[in-house]
Amino acid sequence: GGKPGCPSCRMPTLEPGTERRFLLELAKRQILEKLHLSERPNVTQPVPRVAIANALHHLHVGEAQRDGQLGSFAHWDGPNADELGYEIISFAKTEFSSPSSTGLRFRFSRGPGQDVHILQAQLWLYVQAPWSGLSPAMLRVSLGGALLSERQLEAQASGWHTFALLPALQAFFRGQEKTLRLELECRGCQANATAGSDAGGSHQPFLVAKATMREPGQRVAKR
């Protein structure tokens, strides 16, 4: 309707109400299409805001960089043109908890045929201290019974510890599984030292990863 638009583009001049409806629909379609989502996500189990704030704070403050680890949740040199580069923080759900061990569960989804390539992966764990006994404690991270990483905890104070888990996450994303289960075992610690997620959600363990994702049928990017 309205005044005749540009004849060669047949784009009519939009009335204000039409313009608003048209642009809001266009924004929705653009965002879903470019995020490779078929519909908007429904956030059914919101993560406690304090856990999110804690995670983003630690990732931004460069804590991990002080340990010489990766982990800045900041922009990096970016993916190839035909790949979507992204960073993800996945908060653990506690699957089981005994005085010396905790089971963590992470969930990841990807569309059919989507090819996800993990570039960096790191587990963040909060450990309560002091632990029982004089000998330093040993913290072990396993996947399906296979040891992924272990660390002797020197400091007596509670705090965050990070574990690089790149090979494990790359292998996981090569499969079709949606749920990643990790086991934590803390020898020589006090009871429930790694059950961070029970501490009101502010010390929920989380995984942070950087990845590129290519849609099915997209040409292989030359590196």
């Binding site: 642009l23 809001l24 470019k34 908007r40 956030v43 923080i89």
Partner: protein
């Protein structure tokens, strides 16, 4: 290119801000609160055809004047985006994971005649 105003109906950039609350998506998109979607509109008469907004050089202007005198060579010309920026976004995915990514070509920065 020019931002649209009332005085001209030539090809220009029309600014429009989409607030994610207006589409009820502020529950899963954490940051930003919205973005400038913008779009291109306006006429592309022969003498400005294929001029990339104000960036056109004097050579292009002369070329267009020549073209304007034999319109047949001009062909159809459209007002289209000539420069777009990515949108950095932080959102919850369906597993309540937090995802950060840069969506390419989301913000129309400049328009010009094809």
């Amino acid at each position: 290119s020019l931002r649209c105003d009332q005085t001209s109906n030539l090809c220009c950039r029309k600014d429009y801000y989409v607030d994610f609350r207006d589409i009820g998506w502020n529950d899963w998109i954490i940051k930003p609160e919205g973005y400038q979607i913008n779009y291109c509109m306006g006429q592309c008469p022969p003498h400005v055809a294929s001029s990339p907004g104000m960036a056109s050089s004097s050579h292009t202007a002369v070329l267009n004047l020549i073209r304007a005198h034999n319109v047949r060579a001009g062909g159809q010309s459209c007002c289209v985006p000539t420069h777009r920026r990515p949108l950095s976004i932080l959102y919850f995915d369906r597993n309540s994971n937090i995802v950060k990514t840069d969506i390419p070509d989301m913000i129309v920065d400049a328009c010009g005649c094809s």
